[in-house]
Point group: C2
Chain length 212, copies 2
Amino acid sequence: MSPVNKFPFMPRALSQLIESFRLLPGIGPKTAQKLAFSTLKMSSEQVKDISNSLANIKSEIIYCQYCQNISENSICNICTDNNRDNSIICVVEEVMDVYVLEKSGAFKGKFHVLHGSISPANGIGPDEIRIKELVNRVQSDSLIKEIVIATNLNLEGEATAMYINQIFSKSEHKIKITRLARGLPSGSDIEYADETTILHAMGSRVNIDESL
Amino acid sequence: MSPVNKFPFMPRALSQLIESFRLLPGIGPKTAQKLAFSTLKMSSEQVKDISNSLANIKSEIIYCQYCQNISENSICNICTDNNRDNSIICVVEEVMDVYVLEKSGAFKGKFHVLHGSISPANGIGPDEIRIKELVNRVQSDSLIKEIVIATNLNLEGEATAMYINQIFSKSEHKIKITRLARGLPSGSDIEYADETTILHAMGSRVNIDESL
């Protein structure tokens, strides 16, 4: 049932805004209503700001032809940055992951964004995500020596990691394939750790001098 | 710190959209980021829908000259509805309250929206909310016989109810002033009810035949 039916006396512009907010993921009917009503209390300039930002997002953002990350130009700022290591590529599922890794400061190489993960249950095979682009990139760029796979640690992410590893193990251009280490997250309680995490943390245990 | 500083490689349109979403109440930096990134996965039409709805909200909505509720015309659909009781006005703080009361189906009179409540702590006196409009309306419309005050049950709502009652008790045009009943909410556990609620529920206890 749409809010239009629920509230026959609501101005059309308001019920339309509620419907529109519901298009955003994670925004349910109650939140959409709250957000729509709150715009009535905001200044016209503020509402215009949000409207304009949304209008621009699709037109101003394209995908980098090398790494498939979002970009304002055909080649993104990370790919054109000469201070970064060209020999190592970190493969992530989503654009957001690039920013999370960037924020950590842990990686100074280049990225490759797959825009999804292999998920047979949802009908997403290797051709639906940007693996082809990764293979072409690695084959045409002899500088690349290592791929760090940083897909999510769930069924889809694991399947994707496995698939990429298989492709490159068959390829003529031999490169090193690595993955992010698995173990206990910082600040976590062992009491609440799941079995698989414990298994990985134990299996990959390191000399205490190296871990501090 | 703005996301622009946090993520130097983020396209300007995206960081601007994150900043824009943060203008909405209850949207923190993490949610704003999540929402902004999600628009990248939406179709251009969907994003345009949201943008247009926002662009329209301020231009298409005005306030009803009688009840101060939001409206598409100078007199709202509730005020022009001849099937409603003209003798009773329900006074609420916010536009949202009108829709909540409408949805309940419990009230078939007219409304008056104050657009706030008296709050000396926040510098909001009786002149900052639409009490004047209520007084003028009641004085010029002899059909009005009762005002049901439905302000919130907090300090500001109580102060507002008290103020309105005082004004009309001094007025020449004698009308009945009522308030929504206080008591235990439906489906609630007595175990978790606060003392004030219990006090009201006990004080206003009704014959069991009337309550079922």
